[in-house]
Amino acid sequence: MNLIGENITYKPDDQFHLNDVSFNFKKGNLYTILGRTLSGKTTFLKTIAGLLNPDSGNLSFEDNDFIKIPVWERNVAMVYQQFINYPHLNVYENIIFPLKQRKISEDQIKKDVEEALKTVGLVGFENRKIQELSGGQQQRVALARSLAKKAKILLLDEPLVNLDYKLREQLREEFKRIFTQGLSEDTILIYSTTDPQEVMELNGEVIVLDEGKVLQKGPAKEIFENPRTLKVAEISNDPPMNILKGTKNSEKLSFENILINSPSHFKNLSDQGYNFGIRASEIKLDDQGEEFEIELAEISGSETLLHLKKGESKVIALIEEVMNFKIHEKVKIKFNENKLYAFDQNEELVSSPYGVSHG
């Protein structure tokens, strides 16, 4: 009864858009597809919707071969990152469009639309033209249309990416509420994004996609705590996890003439070269620390992002307050060694502060 994909491959030109992708999605769950731009997220969703046919592999839903069912009979809903609505129809007509297609009774349509409008907070906007709405409102209409349809599979393709920062925060909160309350037990919800924070907040099952390939699957917490490879660690952190090439030498770790104590969770690692990983938030300003030069300081919201450099190594530090720095100024920083990751020469995770779970 699940949505099951097996070895799905899509290669329209000389590049893989999907490369041997398999999954098993259960009803009532939320799945997030995390990946950078052009990693195949949209292709993934379009394949499930039926807008694209994979070159090979199987896709089944409720034990039916989904590939044989054309898109218009699949009963899926999709919200695009561009705000796609029918420009020639008003808000109300937009939302009933899919319902009319399915010949549902007038009364039922009325009820469903009212409910959907209430869920997205657009009651009173029924007769507005789409062009008169703001981007955020347009995206709510698109979401309302998808919800009213009560589709069994709901696809959201980076629905917040084209909104400005404030609206994004606000709508993301609402999405969380809608996903937990407004959806039936019957629905599979698939949400794609480039933003790791969104993935953590939505807290569903995550699929990390890169160049059309699945790098890791698992609960959001698992991806965050134990990124299986260096690539996943980069994709699932914003700013990307800092990677420093160095070596372990019994009780000490060294990189760029810096020596720090090896943390306790590294004690089983043999002495050799590693890629050490550390999140930007685990680097703190500290007068006792190592001296780095500031290349760039960005203030975003209540935080300051410092791009730092020492020799060949570049790191990004996230300071949780607004501070003014000059470029080329020297600062001293300290790495929180208890939150260090170690990846081996094949870029695979060998030690994490949360303990490695292999498999």
Partner: protein, 288 residues
């Protein structure tokens, strides 16, 4: 997207067009190998006799072709220069902008032959206003339609009047769709209007210009209506173009077979030369 429904969208138009065209083209090729004329109106087979005649014994066709080339290239260059100038002027704010835009568009909406009928009275050598007004200035009457050299220029004047608007429309639509940023940058640099045109407007307009010139060349190569009414190819053969010559051979002298030979050769030459012109223009204009 890829659904089998796509064929239902494409095929009706495609097959109607192919259906209408395939017969005439095959028929023309076959006809060109026959000696069909008013004495023997039948599809006999005479091989490439007609083609030999065309390439060895028909200077009139080649003259008409070079005349056509001269007329169409000259008119299109004039249309491009004038059309571009007009488009640049009414592109920016100017008094009565919309009035001028409408006026500049009007000639292309008028039927060429019908306007040519008017032009014929306009350039009439004794009763037309042009010679009359020039006469008031002391100019001797000009033989607009009966002098072999001047008649060519009369044809050019009428063609420029008729079709500059189309060039103007394509170029103005192009100008209006240009991005604003390069112009802002040029304005900040304090570039003079002339430099702005040479370094910003013209390069940005190059692809649109090429498109417009090719479209106009294609249409201008069909010059026929104007010549037919204005001078009937005369005086003598001074304004006879290829189409007109084919018309005379085929539908006046009823040498259908030979006219088909001319038609087919003409079509092939047109396709080859327009392809070459398109390539050369692209090289010349986009390189900078």
């Amino acid at each position: 997207m890829n659904f089998k429904h796509k064929y239902v969208f494409l095929f009706p138009g495609l097959f109607v067009l192919i259906g209408i065209l395939i017969f005439p083209i095959i028929f023309t090729i076959r006809l060109s190998l026959s000696g069909w004329n008013s004495y023997t109106p039948e599809m006999n087979f005479i091989g490439i006799t007609n083609y030999i005649r065309l390439f060895t014994d028909d200077p009139r066709f080649w003259e008409s072709f070079f005349r056509l080339s001269f007329l169409s290239v000259t008119t299109v260059i004039l249309q491009y220069i004038i059309g571009f100038a007009l488009a640049l002027i009414v592109w920016r704010e100017i008094k009565f902008k919309r009035f001028f835009r409408v006026i500049f568009l009007i000639p292309m909406m008028t039927t060429p032959v019908i306007m040519t009928v008017i032009w014929r009275t306009f350039f009439h050598e004794s009763l037309g206003p042009v010679n009359d007004l020039l006469g008031n200035l002391g100019v001797e009457p000009i033989l607009w339609l009966s002098d072999p050299v001047i008649a060519k220029f009369t044809v050019i004047i009428v063609e420029v009047w008729q079709w500059t608007p189309f060039m103007f429309l394509l170029l103005l639509a192009g100008l209006l769709s240009l991005p604003k940023e390069p112009f802002l940058a040029a304005a900040i640099d304090g570039a003079s209007p002339f430099r702005k045109f040479v370094y910003v407007t013209f390069p940005l307009m190059a692809p649109i210009s090429i498109g417009a010139i090719i479209i106009r060349l294609i249409e201008a190569s069909k010059i026929m209506d104007t010549v037919f009414v204005l001078t009937s190819g005369g005086p003598g053969t001074a304004t006879e173009t290829s189409s007109f010559y084919i018309y005379i051979k085929g539908l006046r002298e009823f040498q259908m077979g030979y006219a088909a030979t001319l038609s087919f050769t003409y079509l092939v030459i047109m396709i080859i030369s327009l392809t070459i012109i398109a390539k050369v223009l692209t090289k010349l204009m986009i390189k900078k």
